[in-house]
């Protein structure tokens, strides 16, 4: 039986500038990820990791190549369709958490549901359940500014999963966390993603993330240099 991968990236390329100022930030990257799988993309600073992630997340148009999520070619869709794709198919976890500081933990998750048209009791219930699962039952009514870094990232993960997206994208999710909380957050990300059946793509410098990754891709100068499983590619220095 031929099972279609949940995420399919084909020859994805992004070129900034032109002629003498041309920079190929991402250059012909291809890979696939299945549901429940955690793919870790590593590489030095400036290697194109975040650019790759923003293109997969329908936030940036590629110069060429395709991104298929659950069989849907999101790169072929018109601009006006992209917000719908992001709220239905993609969840984001950011390096700097990006919580709305004026809102409580519960409201930060709820607002993502509101964006997708889920409101009232249903939104309230789902947000609460996700936060309880993320171990934040005692912090539901805390404002984002009053949470610790680890707690903020847990809220961020709960928000990313609020609309049951098939694809979860995480950009340096442990960069602003200490070792203990970083590990804790990554385990939560892996466990919740598996439970929800999401494909997870993480870009990071953090070698501790090998523990939770099913696959590791090494990106350098916009190209994948190595692809393997949980072992640091030989001779690769992390910037």
């Amino acid at each position: 039986m031929n099972v279609r991968p949940l995420l399919e990236v084909r020859e994805l390329t992004k070129v900034f500038g032109s002629e003498r100022t041309e920079v190929r930030a991402v250059d012909g990257v291809s890979f696939t990820t299945d549901a429940g799988e955690v793919t870790l993309i590593m590489g030095p600073s400036g290697s194109g990791k975040t650019t790759l992630l923003t293109m997969i997340g329908a936030l940036l148009r590629p110069t060429s190549g395709r991104v298929l999520v659950d069989g849907l070619d999101v790169t072929a869709l018109p601009q006006r369709e992209l917000p719908r794709i992001r709220r239905q198919l993609v969840g984001f976890v950011f390096q700097t958490f990006n919580l709305l500081e004026a809102l409580t933990a519960q409201e930060n998750v709820e607002v993502a549901l509101n964006v997708a048209g889920v409101t009232g009791d249903e939104a309230h219930r789902r947000a609460r359940a996700l936060l309880v699962e993320a171990g934040l039952e005692e912090r539901l009514d805390f404002h984002a500014r009053d949470l610790s870094g680890g707690e903020k990232q847990r809220v961020s993960i709960a928000r990313a999963l609020a609309n049951h997206p098939p694809l979860l994208l995480a950009d340096e999710p442990t960069a602003n966390l200490d070792s203990y909380h970083g590990h804790e957050v990554m385990e939560l990300l892996r466990d919740l993603a598996r439970k929800e059946g999401c494909a997870v793509v993480v870009v990071s410098h953090d070698p501790r993330l090998y523990d939770i990754a099913d696959r590791v891709l090494w990106l350098e100068d916009g190209r994948i240099k190595d692809a393997g499983t949980a072992a640091v590619p030989a001779g690769r220095a992390l910037a």
Binding site: L59, F94, V115
Partner: protein
């Protein structure tokens, strides 16, 4: 729905308070100006309240307050004989400057020298027909001169007891009503009157009566009470309406600018938040709604406070400045509130334009 707009505004309470205060002040300014205009316009209502339909005046007289009029008193009989005339009241009217208890006063006195036996409604008699040796003054004059019913007002040395203080008044002139005998002595017009006020019989043709009255008094013209009221309104409108319009427009611009600035600042400060919302899939309509709500919250709260404050301010100011005669009307308040809402919506345009330019990919930058 999570009240993002409210939370954003409450995150900066100091700024919210100042913005709401700014809008409230603009609304207060507008409503006070409009109600002052209404108060000034109300001066013309007097002509419709006096007991008569037609005014016979010296030719060229626009109204009793702006132009002198002098007519021979002996034409009274001629006028009374005109078919369709029910009653003729000689009217004395003049502005008099005098000193009372060391204070300089400038009062427009009017006297309706109604013939004895003329049937008059009780409230008309109370308001316009004082007994000999008495005077009826309006509340503006009473307040300015510190007078109450029973006090004595010395007009050109003639002591007159205040019989009644009429509610209301207007800022254009302070008004007093004299008894006919007192007026004759004070104004010393001898064989002249200033106007004849004619009451038409029910069903009488006013145009025909007016023409007959003009013919009966050489060098005169006859105007209806409405025409005199209209002339008075035009006087107010010519002098006051352009100023009112400019000030109201300025008030709306200031209020709108305050709302726009608040919403714009709140939007710029929260640009990253809006970027996050767009990144997680919020439609443009979703984020525009937040900006619009922010703008409307400031507009609605500020306007509501401004409207309530206007009522208090008008009362308080009038205590210190008697000429501050305002006429606060529900329709004006509702209109200004609606205008404030429209301005709030327009004020959201600039921040919305700014949000349009936010690239959701910015949220990936640390």
């Amino acid at each position: 729905m999570v009240p993002v707009a409210r939370r954003n505004l409450l995150a900066e309470k100091g700024r919210l308070v100042m913005s709401v205060a700014g809008v409230a002040f603009a609304v207060l300014l507008i409503l006070i100006i409009v109600s002052l205009y209404r108060g000034w316009s109300g001066a013309s209502a007097l002509f419709n309240e006096l007991p008569g339909d037609l005014w016979v005046a010296q030719a060229g007289t626009t109204d009793p307050f702006r132009a002198a009029s002098s007519l021979p008193a002996d034409r009274l009989g001629e006028l009374e004989r005109i078919e369709g005339v029910q009653a003729v009241i000689p009217v004395y009217a003049r502005r008099i400057g005098f000193e009372n208890s060391g204070e300089d006063l400038d009062v427009f006195f009017m006297s309706l020298a109604a013939p004895a036996g003329l049937p008059l409604a009780g409230d008309v008699r109370e308001r316009f027909f004082p007994a000999p040796g008495h005077v009826i003054v309006d509340s503006v004059l009473a307040q300015e001169a510190g007078l109450e019913t029973g006090d004595t007002l010395a007009v050109l040395g003639r002591p007159l007891v205040i019989e009644r203080v009429s509610p209301g008044g207007n800022p254009i002139f302070e008004l007093g009503f004299l008894n006919g005998a007192d007026a004759e002595e004070l104004l010393r017009l001898d064989d002249y009157v200033n106007f004849f006020l004619l009451s038409a019989a029910p069903g009488a043709d006013l145009d025909r009566v007016a023409a007959a009255a003009t013919a009966a008094v050489p060098g005169s013209q006859t105007s209806t009470s409405d025409e005199f009221a209209q002339a008075m309104s035009e006087l107010v409108n010519q002098g006051f309406l352009p100023v009112v319009s400019v000030l109201v427009a300025l008030g709306l611009v200031i209020g709108g600018a305050v709302i726009a600035l608040t919403t714009y600042t709140a939007t710029i400060e929260k640009a990253r938040d809006f970027g996050v919302l767009k990144a997680v899939g919020a439609s443009n309509a979703f984020v525009y709604r937040i900006v619009l709500q922010q703008s409307l919250i400031v507009g609605v709260i500020g306007s509501a406070i401004g409207l309530v404050a206007s009522a208090f301010a008008a009362t308080l100011i009038k205590r210190g400045v008697p000429e501050f005669v305002t006429d606060l009307r529900f329709a004006d308040a509702a209109g200004i509130f609606a205008a404030a809402l429209v301005v709030s919506i327009l004020a959201a345009y600039v921040p919305v334009h700014r949000i349009n330019r936010i690239d959701p990919a910015m949220v990936f930058r640390a």
